[in-house]
Amino acid sequence: MGSLVPGKLGPVLLLRLAVRNLLRNRRRTVLTMITVAFAVFFLHVWNSVLTGLERQSYDNLILYQTAHAKVFHEGWFELRDELPLDRSLDNIDELLMRVTEVPGVAAAVPRIAFQAHLSDGRDQIPVQGLGIETSGSDSDVFRISQAVVEGSYLPPDGYGLLLGSGLARAFDAGPGDWMTVLVRTRTGVWEAQEMEVTGVVLTGNPSIDQNSFLMGLEPARAMLDMDGRATELAIRFAGTVSERSVLERLKEALASDDGLHLAGWREQESEFIALTEVKRGGGLVAMAIFVVVALVGVANTMLLAAFERTQEVGMLLAMGMRAATVRWLFLLEGALTGLGAGALGTLVALGPIFYFAARGIDFSAMFAEDMDIGYPVAGRVFWAVTPAAILVAWLGTAVLAAAATLYAAARASRMKPAEALRHV
C-alpha cells in the first residue's frame, strides 16, 4: 500500500484533530463563534434589506415608468431630460405590429411624455405630463389603473386628469377639481387647456407621484399637435422569458429602421442603477468594521490557543510532524470556527429574512409620504432572499477566519521543538 509523505497527516485525521481541538474547550469556541456570528448576521440582514429595496425599485420602475423596454425616436433619448416633442415616432401602427410579433413580447402601447405647467388658478409649477391610451391597452403594459387611490381612472374617451399623489397634496386638489395645463406644442405654440381631475394615483415612484399627471392619449395628441405620433412605445415582456434574448430579437426586428432607438429598462435607468451600487458601497464601511472586530476575536483566540498548546506542539514536532502540517492544523481549526460561526449567524438571520420577505416592513410611519428615500418604493419594503449571496457570505466567513488564524498558525509552526517541549 503506498504511503503518504512522512510528517504529514491524512485529511481525515487532520479534520478529526481539528474538530476535537475545537470541542476541547466548548465555552471558548462558542464565545468566539458568537462574536463572529454577530457580524455574519448583520451582513446578511443588510444585504437582504438593500437587495429587497433594489428589487422592489426595479419592479416599480418596470410597472410604472420604464416598462421592460421602450422604443424612441433616435434623437430623443439623448435629450430625454427635456422631453422634446419634435423628435417623436410617427408610424405608430406599423411599429406596434412589428413589435408585438416578436416572440416574448406580451404587449406594447404608445405614450406621449411632455413638459407642462400645471396650475390650479392660484399657483403653477412645471411638471411632466403623460398621454396614455385609455382604451385599455395602457393597462396591458403598465399598472397605473391599479394605483388609483382616490376617484377613478381615466374614462375611455380620455378626457380628464390623473394626478400624482404628491401633486394632489401640494395643490390640495382631488377628483372633481379643475386644473389648467399649459404646454408648448410640437410646433412651438403655447397652449392652455382646462381639465377635470378624475383621480389620484399613488405608485411609490416619486417621478410619478411628485412630478406627473396623466391624461388621455388622444386629447394629448390634439393639444400638442401630435396626431398619429408618440414619444415612446412601451413594451412589456411575457413573464418567463430571458430579457436579453427578447431585447436582441426586438433589435433585429427594428434594425431596418435607422431612426429608432430601443432601450431596455436597465439602459433607461442606468444612472439609478449606478447610484444603488454606490449606496451599497456606503454601508460596506460599517459592515467592514464589524467583520474586522470579529476577525480580531478569532485571531486572539487562536493565538492564545497556540501558546497554551506550546508543549503539545513541541511534542508533535518532536515526533516528526512537519511544520507545515502544524500550520494546516491551526488553519483548519480557524476555518472550522468560521464555518460554524457562519452557520450560526446565517441560521439566525434566516428567520427575520424569511419573515420580512413575506410580510415586509411598513416604513410609512417613520418617513413622511413625500420623503424621497432614494428608492422608488412606497409603504411596505419587502426583504429579499438571496441564496447565492448567503452561501458566499457563509463560506467567505470560513476563509476569512482561516486568514485571521494565519499569524497564530505561523507562530505555532515555527516553534522549536526542543524549547517548546520544556515550556511551562
Binding site: 476535537r20 476541547r24 503539545e312 511534542m315 518532536a318 515526533m319 516528526g320 526542543a418 520544556r422
Partner: protein, 236 residues
C-alpha cells in the same frame, strides 16, 4: 559492539544575550545497540542538550553526531523531522500525550506520521504495543481518564510502536510516585531485553540510575565518569 549512536568531539554553545553558554565541551560518546544507559548530573551539566542531540532535535555547534549510521549534524530541520519520525522515540516527564486523542489513537499517531495507511496494520501494531506495556483494553480511554502511570505507559508504547533505533527518556519518572516509577522502569527494562531497543535516560532519580546498565555522569558539559554495571535482576 555495534554502535547505534556516536558523538565525536561535540560542542554546543548557546548565546543568551551577551553571554555565551557552553553546554557541551568537546564530548565524545559511543552508545551500543541494546544499551540501557542513564545520563546523570546536576542542572546545567548538559544532559538535556546531549539528549536533544541524540534525538536530532538540535544540531551541535561543532563535532559529529551519528545515529543509526546517519550523520545528523548538518541536517536541516525538515530532514531532522523526518529522521525523528522513523528513528527516534521520546518519553517525557510530562507524558505529552495529545489530550483530544484516545490512548490507542495516541499510540497510532507515529504510524500515521510515517504514512502507514493500512488501518488494519495500524490497529494490530497498536494493540500489540498496548499489550506489551500492560494496558490491554484501555485503548479507548482519553489521557485525562488515565492515571499518571498509565499515561506514561501509553507514552512508552507510542515511543516504541514504530520500532525506533533509540528511545530517549527525559526524566520519565519525575511525575510518578515511587511504586509507579518502579513499574515503569521494570517495563522499559523488560522491553529492552525482549525487543533489543536502545534506551537512553536523562535523570536525577536514583531509581532510574539503579536500573541502568551504564551510567554516564556529566559535569560542566563534559563526561565525568562512565560506569558499566552488571545487569540487575528485576526487583519484585
Amino acid at each position: 559492539m555495534e554502535a547505534i549512536a556516536r558523538l565525536e568531539a561535540v560542542e554546543k554553545v548557546y548565546r543568551a544575550g551577551e553571554v555565551e553558554v557552553h553546554a557541551l565541551r568537546g564530548l565524545s560518546l559511543e552508545i551500543e545497540r541494546g544499551a540501557f544507559l542513564s545520563l546523570a548530573g546536576p542542572s546545567g551539566s548538559g544532559k538535556t542538550t546531549l539528549l536533544n542531540l541524540l534525538g536530532a532535535l538540535d544540531t551541535p555547534t561543532s563535532g559529529r553526531v551519528e545515529i543509526g549510521g546517519i550523520s545528523t549534524e548538518k541536517l536541516g530541520p525538515r530532514t531532522m523531522a523526518d529522521f525523528r519520525n522513523s528513528h527516534v522515540g521520546f518519553v517525557f516527564q510530562t507524558f505529552n500525550l495529545i489530550p483530544v486523542l484516545t490512548a490507542a489513537e495516541n499510540v497510532a499517531f507515529p504510524l500515521q506520521l510515517l504514512g502507514v495507511t493500512d488501518a488494519g496494520e495500524r490497529r494490530r501494531r497498536v494493540e500489540s504495543m498496548l499489550d506489551a506495556v500492560g494496558l490491554p483494553g484501555l485503548g479507548d480511554r482519553r489521557p485525562r481518564e488515565l492515571s499518571g502511570g498509565q499515561q506514561q505507559r501509553v507514552a512508552v508504547a507510542r515511543a516504541l510502536v514504530k520500532d525506533p533505533d533509540l528511545v530517549l527518556a527525559d526524566e520519565p519518572t519525575a511525575n510518578l510516585d515511587s511504586d509507579t516509577a518502579e513499574g515503569i522502569m521494570t517495563l522499559m527494562q523488560d522491553l529492552n531485553h525482549r525487543l533489543g531497543t536502545t534506551f537512553v535516560f536523562s535523570t536525577h532519580d536514583p531509581l532510574v540510575m539503579d536500573h541502568a546498565t551504564r551510567l554516564v555522569r556529566l559535569r560542566d558539559g563534559r563526561i565525568e565518569s562512565d560506569e558499566r554495571r552488571a545487569m540487575e535482576p528485576s526487583h519484585g
